[in-house]
């Protein structure tokens, strides 16, 4: 039972992610999470503003069930399966983040500097989240997929557009981690 409560190494996580993808396809659907953003837009009535969203969301209800499962799984994991959220980081990462003012680096999954109520209710913290969310939602639909759809499904099925998209993901992530984060904190 101890295994359940300890952090899982990469060679457990990676294969189980692959298993999730295989089951998703085995159930007859295309694996990818960011399509659900579109489906949720359609449900919220976005079809009134753009033909792009004039689709039958009921044909994609499996994706919404999957997304609901993600939320339930997150609640289960956070409450029952992770007694200790310490992340065993590279000391260099800890040092860098501490130097730009992060406290308790790696003591939990999410830094208070972005995810605490205090941060969320500050103008800066709120704008950080809104800006990130806009970039994620816009970017993934423009690129045609996210980490699951492009990086895992697309790369493993040897699709060239996915390679370009993943290169883009890393250009963006490097810009964020090397330039934006040290600037805004």
């Amino acid at each position: 039972m101890d295994f359940i409560f300890e952090p899982w190494p990469w060679f457990v996580g990676g294969p189980l992610i692959a298993l999730s993808l295989v089951l998703y396809f085995y159930f007859g659907k295309n694996f990818g999470t960011s399509t659900d953003f579109e489906t949720l837009c359609t449900m919220a009535g976005a079809g009134k503003f753009s033909d792009y969203f004039k689709k039958d969301w009921k044909e994609r209800d499996y994706g919404l069930m999957f997304a609901l499962g993600l939320v339930i799984g997150g609640i289960i994991a956070s409450n029952f399966l992770i007694p200790d959220q310490t992340v065993n980081l590279n000391p260099k990462s800890v040092q860098e983040l501490t130097e730009i003012g992060f406290l308790n680096v790696g003591n939990q999954y999410f830094p208070d500097e972005i995810f605490s109520n205090e941060a969320v209710f500050s103008l800066k913290g709120f704008l950080i989240l809104v800006f990130s969310g806009l970039m994620i939602g816009f970017g993934t639909r423009y690129a045609g997929g996210c980490t699951s759809g492009h990086a895992i499904t697309g790369l493993s099925s040897l699709q060239f557009p996915s390679l370009l998209a993943v290169i883009g993901f890393f250009i963006g992530g490097i810009i964020a981690a090397w330039f934006i984060i040290p600037t805004i904190f």
């Binding site: 952090p7 999954y109 939602g137 099925s157």
Partner: protein, 137 residues
């Protein structure tokens, strides 16, 4: 309830991501700073094993529950859309430490910030939908 299997799969996937720390902001910071193998191992491992199964799908050795050949959707081609869209996505991912799936999972950890991320991402997807015909491919 034909979709109950997707609900269960979502729960499973969320637990896998949570337990392997693949939703932790710090893990993505480390990844984009190239200071740890952990996330590369997870994503790379998932890709390599999936690639093996993709070959089995392609050859019809594994079919879906209906007995149909499994064929991943072809991604839309276009240099600008994939590179620029990907870069935008990467910036959002790099700052918030959340990509599409984990946003839903993080709702179970840090509800309010994840909800702001989700609503903003939906608005972002909506803006893309409005502009989709005008943007370069």
């Amino acid at each position: 309830m034909k979709n109950i299997k997707f609900l269960l799969l979502g729960i499973f996937f969320a637990i896998v991501l949570s337990k392997s720390q693949a939703i932790s902001w710090f893990r993505f910071y480390e990844m984009f700073r190239f200071q740890s193998f952990h996330m590369f191992g997870i994503i790379g491992g998932a890709v390599v094993i999936s690639a093996f199964f993709m070959q089995l799908f392609k050859r019809g050795i594994i079919k879906d529950t209906q007995g149909n050949l499994i064929k991943p959707k072809e991604k839309e081609k276009g240099f600008v859309r994939t590179i620029v869209g990907g870069t935008f996505f990467g910036i959002g991912w790099g700052i918030s430490g959340a990509c599409a799936g984990p946003i839903f999972v993080i709702l179970g950890f840090k509800f309010l910030p994840a909800l702001i991320l989700l609503i903003s991402a939906l608005i972002g997807a909506f803006i893309y939908g409005l502009l989709s015909k005008k943007l370069p491919n």
